[in-house]
Symmetry: C2
Subunit: 205 residues, 2 copies
């Protein structure tokens, strides 16, 4: 079957930490080989097992600041003292290669993406309740201060949900994954993402 639908679609996923976003994104990427995660730049030090160019592009603060002043980022943010940014170049390379793009960023970043790419698709993942979110954060054995900070950030983030196109509740991981797969599948079928010349070719005898 010919490719009737355009690729280069940008899917943005935001979620407070503890919502299961990382697991969901990993599963989504495994299920859809034509969807690629955009790798962010960060000044954070690599954690054990993290690889440069796979998990992040690890750069020093000077490099990051130079990239900011060169306007190389679509969006960037400082989170807990570290810088994170989405490079325009990384996105445009993935687009050129014919992939759809997955971005894992916060509400502020999502807004910047939507501004630059109005056709991008914003998905917000919510925990089933604040109690459940707290329970999940406690399971991670994080200290009380971190949990408190994350919960307060979560509430702030959640208040932004109305700006997003889709809301997925992660009560059950398989159901939430299915929701995400449906969103990607359906968005790709939108008339506005179709290659109109291909359609016309078929129906001109």
């Amino acid at each position: 079957m010919m490719e009737l639908y355009k690729r280069g679609n940008i899917f943005v996923i935001s979620a407070p930490s503890g919502t299961g976003k990382t697991t969901l994104c990993d599963r989504l990427l495994k299920a859809l080989t034509d969807l690629k995660m955009s790798i962010s730049h960060t000044t954070r030090k690599p954690r054990p097992g993290e690889t440069d160019g796979v998990d992040y592009f690890f750069v020093d603060k000077e490099t990051f600041e130079k990239m900011i002043s060169n306007e190389e980022f679509i969006e960037w943010a400082e989170v807990y003292g570290n810088f994170y940014g989405t490079s325009k170049n990384v996105i445009s390379q993935l687009m050129k290669q014919g992939y759809d793009i997955l971005l894992d960023i916060d509400a502020q970043g999502a807004k910047s993406i939507k501004k630059l790419y109005p056709e991008s698709i914003l998905i917000f993942i919510l925990p089933p309740s604040m109690e459940e979110l707290e329970r999940r954060l406690l399971q991670r054995n994080e200290d009380k201060d971190t949990i408190k900070k994350r919960l307060s950030k979560a509430e702030e983030e959640i208040s932004q949900y109305k700006f997003y196109d889709y809301i997925v509740i992660n009560d059950n991981i398989e159901e939430a994954l299915n929701d995400l797969l449906c969103i990607v599948c359906a968005e790709r079928l939108k008339t506005k993402r179709i290659k109109h010349d291909e359609i016309e070719k078929i129906f001109k005898k």
Copy 2:
């Protein structure tokens, strides 16, 4: 899990005859018990096996015309000498019962629905090619004149596809069904269809 998403969504499916629309709609309704087909009124005589109130509401021309003048239809059309119409009352009853609604109507009817219900979702099903459509119509053992008429109507209908929200190509029935299931699933997850008071209840501690 609580119901976070509103029902009463209207899904409109249009397709030229021979595209497999009827089979797809039947399969979709079997898969999704909270989606109900809106039963049309028609002046066409029942075919063997058709039941009044199940396949159609079979009415005589006089009744149909009275319903037109009483503005009881959202849309109605004359097709090959018979009248077909979607009753406002049928739709509102299904909405009251908490169902999503499936409508199988032509491009003209789809436009009327969108006008009255701007949040309705329009899906156009296309055959993979005109040759394949002709082959499918030939398999039905219809006479050459009918096929010619249907093909010419198909070309006319297809020219309307840009007005629809989604395009599904029925090359393979299972894939096309999956596309439809994804569209319904994804549309139900849209932020604009969420019950905002339910979300706020969860996140107010």
